[in-house]
Symmetry: none
């Protein structure tokens, strides 16, 4: 018999992400996905109970993978400032490079597929980020604001830039990233 190939899950995920990037979460059908993944419609239902489960699974996968990239290489850096910058660069670089993931996550929040319980888990995944911010505040390096406020500020800057970059069709130069980081940093550092 053919062995159930878990790499097929990946195939399906990739096809879905590409379609969502192009047409939006609202505009894709199970038929679209199966065709994009070069498999039969019925096969989708071997790997996922229904459309909702497929989207939910993809959502969780995207979030997990995203967060892993965010924190890559961070523990090797000693200075707080270095880690902050590396984190910023990590996030924006990843979100640009894998815009489909970024776009999918964004749209999932407003979809009927992802429930609040799933969203709650996000904060857990971002704990190291909270810790880093807390460390900065306590060390007197960041403004004495609510951690969540600072994190919203961080992601807000990045999200908007990533979107703008994608829709403009241009590349994001290292210089622009540097400029953006400077704005971020000047905004949060204690002055």
């Amino acid at each position: 018999m053919r062995i159930k190939d878990e790499s097929k899950t990946d195939l399906i995920f990739k096809a879905t992400l590409n379609l969502v990037k192009e047409r939006g979460l609202a505009g894709i059908t199970m038929n679209d996905i199966s065709k994009a993944a070069s498999i039969a419609t019925g096969t989708l239902y071997i790997y996922f109970k229904n459309k909702e489960e497929l989207i939910k699974a993809l959502f969780l996968e995207c979030r997990t993978v995203s967060v892993q990239h965010y924190f890559a290489g961070l523990q090797e850096i000693s200075s707080f400032e270095g880690r902050m910058k590396r984190l910023f660069i990590n996030i924006i670089t990843y979100k640009i490079a894998f815009f489909e993931v970024s776009a999918f996550l964004e749209q999932s929040y407003h979809s009927p597929f992802v429930c609040i319980a799933d969203l709650k888990k996000k904060e857990k995944a971002l704990k190291p980020l909270f810790a880093l911010v807390k460390e900065g505040i306590e060390a007197g390096k960041l403004k004495n604001a609510d951690e969540e406020l600072i994190i919203s500020y961080l992601f807000g800057i990045i999200h908007e830039m990533v979107k703008k970059t994608y829709f403009s069709g241009k590349k994001l130069s290292p210089e622009t990233i540097e400029q953006l980081y400077d704005m971020f940093w000047d905004g949060v550092r204690r002055q």
Copy 2:
């Protein structure tokens, strides 16, 4: 006669905005809208050719009204710093108060309903904002960055905060707005 028309259009718009806020643009049907607006399905098609036109019209309406609020009372302020701050407060206050408008606009960008031509007009509507930023740069008050970069920075911060506020279910205190503005301002002012 004309008055009756407009009031019904408004009714439809309001119903749609509320539904989108609750279920997302992907999850609403023409039937949902007509029920929420307490009119018959067929009546929708008297006022709008089809679903796409309805969404598009609502999109344009939302954008126009939004921008009007953004710039309200701005010309009465003389100092650049004052106008910048007032603009920031205007935008975030409006987006919080009319989250349904904000959420709808956000989702429309990724929908199959709003085309690129429609989006292009946005920049036109935001011209006064571009002018203000340009003025700040030329006056040496803002960092010497690309105007679009600064505007992305501005909206990024606000969008994220607005979303966070809505989903947390809490109110946004004037103090927090003040804090957020400080971060914004420290990020963009020339230092």
Copy 3:
């Protein structure tokens, strides 16, 4: 607007009964039903939430109508024997004339559509029959057996005969009915 025509429910019911008679409950699709009723598929879903509800509603309708026919004209007859015979004739005549109803009810019992709760209500509908049998027993005219036993005996005889008649393609002559009734009566009367 077109007024929701409750006679359409009847149209759907009749189409369904005919199809079930010909192909069995297992072999019919919503598409089949809509075509047989000369309406669009979607229209079915205006009148019934889904296939299960359609079948269930038809089941209840068939049972109600059947029982009404069983007891027609019974109260005009004074003698117990007369009422018993009239009932027997009523039932077998109705089941032959409306074989589609009879067949549908039979098949519904074994379908995934009709639940036990629905079946329970049957006994309530047949109460007058139980009363008649009880009367006969207490008057010493029927064998002193459990009422349910006697009623099973009654329906068993009829059901089998009705099926046999339909599948043979022949008519059931009054003489044969008479013969069958004699067998029934000799079986139940106290001797």
Copy 4:
């Protein structure tokens, strides 16, 4: 090798009968059957060309086995009355004990799987029963009615009782069987 085959066929048959008893013939899939039989779906198709063949084969098997039970021990009884009673008891006892077989046969008649040709063979299998009834009529012991009428009467009584017993969840006591037989016998014997 051949033995292994037959044991698997049996396994499939038993699984199918159980499922039909629980969910009805309409509600079972090849997947259900394979799971209930603890084999792979593909294996089903080694033993049966397709679903129709499986059901048809099971139908024929059930009928053959049923009839064997009906006539078991009959030739050892000398009196007509004794044989008649034994037959009645045999049939009802078997149908109660193997209700799944009884239910399956009943439902098969109305299914798209069993064709008329298959049904015709039934009468052949029941020839000894026809002979017995004929003997009774000619000996002046049974009413002078059509043999088929008497046989319908016999099976009708039994079928209804068997169904009632199963759905009530209770056991059928020997006394009740005796009572039912008395009703049957009083109904058919010449008086």
